[in-house]
């Protein structure tokens, strides 16, 4: 039994921390690569970064320094790393009695350190902040798994985290493959493939699976359809489905509710997906995943958080 408001807050802690980690990785990797690249392809790289952060073309920061400022340090941008950490911590503050003290202290400590780093922003290297954020979030996740019961509340953290991951990874792939139709066996631009994999912390895992022979089709397949790599879309969809099934059981709801049905369908489409088919029209497929994630979010909210009182009273 969990208050609806608490469930909502836990879900958003999961989402915001995942979002912070994703953004900081993407920015860190892309700008790191930008250092020694020629201007033309650098521009290509930068535009992909903008697209994966959902900056509309013709708007927003134009140039690496401005982009770092806007998406890492700027607390007035709701999608900056600093904002995501602040919002995760604010949600945690509102459910302090539900999470363990160790979890609260970790997210509070992370918030305080990020805030301090942002206060001295010009002298803080983005890479330093990236390390701080990634380590801090990993520590939080470890503490969460080790000190919180893996019950209903924990499942909401899971749903938030993996639903965010599925959507963000699909968006990243969409930005990458959008306007370059690819033959699955093509090698493509090696360094942009490396950068894509590193943005998902997947380079080493990819190499263990396929060797360092980078092919666009395999890269897409790995990030989208690999069943074991924790940052692939399929893996994330599996976790979302598992968590939603557990939530339905925990609240004694009849099986096959809207949220689980949608999650199951997403998971199945990835289980049986074929990378050759997907790459025929990557944008339609990847955009569909994003919309699917939004529907799962809406169904989850309808079922557990924002339901109508009248229907609950008559039940």
């Amino acid at each position: 039994m969990l208050l609806s408001r608490v469930a909502d807050a836990l879900y958003w802690i999961g989402r915001y921390l995942e979002r912070a980690e994703h953004i900081v990785r993407v920015v860190d990797v892309r700008l790191d690569l930008g250092i020694d690249r020629r201007l033309g392809s650098d521009r290509w790289n930068f535009d992909r970064l903008r697209a994966s952060l959902q900056v509309p073309s013709g708007e927003g920061p134009d140039g690496p320094a401005a982009l770092v400022e806007a998406f890492v340090f700027d607390v007035t941008n709701r999608n900056s790393v600093a904002s995501c950490i602040t919002q995760a911590r604010e949600n945690a503050r509102q459910v302090r009695e539900e999470i363990s003290s160790d979890m609260w202290q970790q997210v509070n400590e992370l918030f305080l350190r990020v805030r301090q780093a942002c206060a001295s922003a010009p002298s803080t290297r983005p890479h330093f902040l990236a390390r701080l954020v990634i380590d801090g979030i990993h520590l939080f996740q470890g503490i969460t798994d080790a000190t919180m019961g893996h019950g209903e509340g924990w499942r909401y953290l899971q749903v938030g985290r993996f639903l965010e991951r599925a959507g963000a990874t699909a968006l990243l792939l969409d930005a990458h493959f959008r306007d370059t139709p690819v033959a699955p066996g093509a090698t493509g631009d090696r360094s942009s493939s490396v950068s894509l994999l590193r943005s998902c912390a997947a380079l080493e895992a990819y190499c263990r699976c396929y060797t360092a022979d980078l092919r666009l089709g395999r890269v897409a397949e790995f990030l989208l359809l690999d069943p074991e790599f924790p940052r692939s879309v399929r893996f994330a969809a599996d976790r979302v489905e598992t968590a939603l099934q557990a939530l339905a059981r925990a609240t004694a709801r009849p099986a096959g509710g809207q949220a689980e049905r949608l999650a199951g369908r997403l998971h199945a489409s990835l289980d049986y997906g074929q990378v050759d088919e997907i790459l025929e029209d990557p944008h339609t497929y990847l955009d569909g995943i994003g919309r699917h994630c939004a529907q799962i979010h809406a169904a989850l909210y309808q079922t557990y958080v924002g339901y109508r009182i009248e229907s609950a009273l008559s039940a």
Partner: protein, 487 residues
């Protein structure tokens, strides 16, 4: 033991001056009280640098644990730590026993008084407490007349403010009977003290206080409506913007019960429900940290977003219990306070164990004349206020401030009381790299359920500004760990 006179004129204590006020560590002769001797010796072994390091560790611990309060009126919603003084304040076992008996007696009488006033009104009929004094009280709730309160427990949680006079006697300064706060700081101070200063505990047997959460839950269990065998308990908070939010979350976690906001609750057919992921769930006992005024927009302030529409009716129907009950603020009105000794005698036929501070009621013409003639030497307080607001401290006031209060008193004499300026006791504090005396008070927390429980300890609040007598956290106060010795 040979008489080794403790020399206060050395090291960190070099600037330590004994004044007219009672000192919590030293007797009039300059020697430490017997129960403070070991602590005093330990403290002289520290250098300023060591204490500074401990202080930094303690501050850091409060910050990372998020033990902070929100400063009202601050646009950025800055969270501050509650200033913490490193040096513990010690209360001997014998002193504590008196406090325990006195507080139990007082709260017992207060509950009998509230029951009486909201039912037959015997004490009013017999003229022991004037009827118009009660009925003109801002916190008197007509809605509560004739309402049966389970077990007749109106005040389940009190946080009584005590001060020590020059002669070392504890007296009651205020009864906080609505939503007293600060207990989480009492507990956090001890935790932090154990962490940064474990050595100091070695020579003492300090009574534990960590079981406060269990004691509070047991107290709430006594309030559960009898028809509900497996009751659901919640803590109701105004929300994350409230200055005591940390405490609300802390107590909910200590008790293992949900922390709810008004928007999580609803009333249907006089039954209170909370909105959960598994649908609506009935709520039986609410430890509410929301004032009466904001509890139910249908019954009290209609602009309140913090409460639950229909809660009062659910309460009157006996379907939910509240701790504290509605309308308990009547008994901590500062004018009613003046009658507390008479109230104790009336219901218990006993003399009060803990005395009151002498209080002038400005509704009485003779008192009023005296007070208006002596404003510069008295403290004037608004009867319905708390937190150190609405006060005039005569000796520290300007002629203009006194004129303002004079006009206020003449316009609404019932709204004010006056008391002599008290020399609150002083205790050693670590300030500016040395140990200096600062004025302190004591707020123990009294729980009234199936029986009375007082966790041995309390919140010692410190007026950190030199010479100041105001200990409120909103006005530059801090706190320190409070040890009650086990013999």
């Amino acid at each position: 033991m040979p008489e080794t006179a403790f020399s206060t004129a050395s090291g960190l204590f070099a600037q330590y001056a004994l004044g007219p006020a009672y000192d919590e560590m030293f007797g009039r002769s300059g020697d430490p009280h017997p129960h403070c001797r070991a602590l005093c010796e330990d403290l002289t072994g520290f250098s300023a640098a060591e204490l500074r390091r401990h202080q930094a560790e303690a501050d850091r611990a409060f910050l990372t644990q998020g033990i902070t309060f929100t400063v009202y009126g601050d646009e950025q919603g800055t969270e501050r730590i509650f200033p913490y003084d490193l040096l513990p304040r010690i209360i001997s076992a014998a002193e504590w026993q008196v406090l325990e008996r006195g507080l139990t007696q007082r709260l017992t009488a207060i509950n009998l008084f509230l029951k009486d006033v909201y039912h037959e009104g015997r004490i009013l009929a017999e003229g022991v407490v004037p009827r118009d004094l009660v009925q003109s009280c801002r916190h008197f709730r007509r809605e509560m007349r004739g309402v049966h309160v389970h077990r007749d427990i109106y005040v389940s949680i009190a946080g009584t403010d005590l001060v020590r006079l020059e002669d070392g006697r504890f007296v009651v300064l205020e009864d906080n009977l609505r939503v007293p706060s600060g207990v989480s700081y009492m507990l956090a101070n001890r935790e932090v003290m154990r962490r940064v200063f474990p050595g100091l505990f070695e020579r003492y047997t300090v009574s534990p206080i960590a079981h406060y959460g269990q004691a509070l839950l047991a107290t709430l269990q006594a309030l559960a409506p009898p028809a509900r065998p497996t009751p659901t308990f919640v803590v109701l908070t105004p929300g994350v913007g409230n200055s005591a939010y940390f405490e609300h979350a802390f107590l909910a976690r200590e008790m293992g019960v949900p922390l709810v906001e008004g928007r999580d609750l609803l009333v249907h057919d006089n039954i209170v429900y909370m909105r959960t992921t598994a649908g609506l769930r009935r709520v039986d006992v609410i430890y509410r940290r929301v004032d009466d005024d904001f509890l139910d927009p249908l019954a009290f302030r209609p602009d309140s977003h913090l409460g639950v529409a229909g809660l009062l009716n659910a309460y009157r129907a006996g379907n939910v219990s509240l701790a504290n009950a509605i309308g308990t603020g009547l008994a901590d009105d500062k004018a009613v306070y003046a009658y507390l000794p008479a109230i104790i005698r009336f219901y218990l036929s006993e003399d009060p164990i803990l005395a009151n501070v002498d209080t002038y009621l400005l509704s009485r013409p003779s008192d009023r004349r005296y007070v208006l003639d002596h404003l510069e030497s008295l403290v004037v307080k608004a009867v319905g206020e708390s937190g150190g607001y609405g006060m005039l401290i005569g000796p520290h006031s300007t002629a203009a401030e006194r004129d303002l209060f004079r006009r206020k008193i003449e316009a609404a004499p019932r709204s004010y009381i006056a008391q002599p300026v008290l020399a609150l006791s002083q205790a050693p504090c670590f300030v500016d790299d040395r140990i200096e005396p600062r004025h302190v008070d004591l707020r123990p927390y009294v729980l009234y359920g199936a029986n009375v429980t007082i966790v041995p300890g309390g919140l010692t609040r410190v007026a950190l500004r030199k010479g100041s007598l105001v200990v409120n956290s909103s006005q530059g106060g801090g706190s320190k760990d409070t040890w009650v010795l086990k013999e």
